[in-house]
Symmetry: C2
């Protein structure tokens, strides 16, 4: 067994998106138990000019599908970023995982040197596939998944780090 | 070029710990400009029973040095977890990076199948090296670095995601 670009990307995203799904479900159960609308959690944020939970999940799922597609050299599905409620956010996660599950190891493996160009608001970023995965896509993905966790936790949802990590061995 | 266990671990940790250092320095400058003691930031948290910033950095640095040492099959330095102030926290990061820089690629590469056992409060976890790195060590590390970011951001420190990601290409 040798570490591969596929192993370090697609299964990591699928696994963590499953954990993210469970975290958000716990948020929904918490809202229901407290008798408030879960959409308030979806619209919650850690600071006035930070993105709310719904947007955090949109970006996390974009990070995952964008990375898989760029490494594989295929088109990614475009999602409209219209999610407002927790069920809509869960559906966004599900359609991302459904796409990721169509990406095959042989499409991603060997993409270490593949040129990747990202057009960000701040300008163009150029990478090779390995640097893109390790130093941009994975930290960016984890940033938004963790921030989603922190928004839920900050609102009192009873989750712990083992929910974030999931079943690990 | 082929993705390797070393490339996916040690340089990732070193790079992100440098970014974490810059984030905390910005926290210190913010406290100074606002004329409050930076230790208040070090002791700040997102919810009553979450760990404060100082502990987040202790765990992030432990995650990095523990992962590098376990994959390399060497002893890791033990730190005493006494950091209270922002300068002490920066020093913790620096000594972690100094250790990581002693770990060589040839010690870590080929560790995909190395048996790794973690003794957690919740029980023993057993992994192979690759699963440990991808599904435990990296998410755990990013969790605590991102939570540090979120604690600073929640307190109004003017940082953005590009500070978290660092110079990326």
């Amino acid at each position: 067994m040798t570490l591969s670009m596929y192993q370090a990307s697609v299964p990591v995203f699928v696994r963590m998106l499953g954990n993210l799904r469970s975290l958000i479900e716990k948020g929904g159960a918490y809202a229901e138990a407290r008798k408030f609308d879960g959409t308030l959690l979806a619209d919650s944020r850690l600071f006035a000019d930070m993105f709310p939970l719904a947007r955090q999940v949109q970006i996390a799922t974009d990070a995952a599908k964008g990375c898989a597609a760029r490494l594989a050299g295929i088109e990614q599905p475009k999602f409209e970023d219209t999610e407002k409620t927790l069920p809509e956010i869960l559906a966004r996660i599900d359609k991302t995982v459904a796409f990721l599950n169509t990406v095959k190891a042989e499409q991603v493996d060997g993409s270490e040197a593949r040129p990747i160009t990202l057009a960000l608001r701040s300008g163009e970023l150029k990478f090779d596939g390995q640097s893109y995965l390790l130093h941009f896509a994975l930290p960016n993905f984890y940033f938004h998944v963790t921030t989603t966790y922190n928004i839920l936790r900050h609102n009192g949802v009873e989750i712990g780090k083992m929910d974030f990590l999931g079943r690990v061995s």
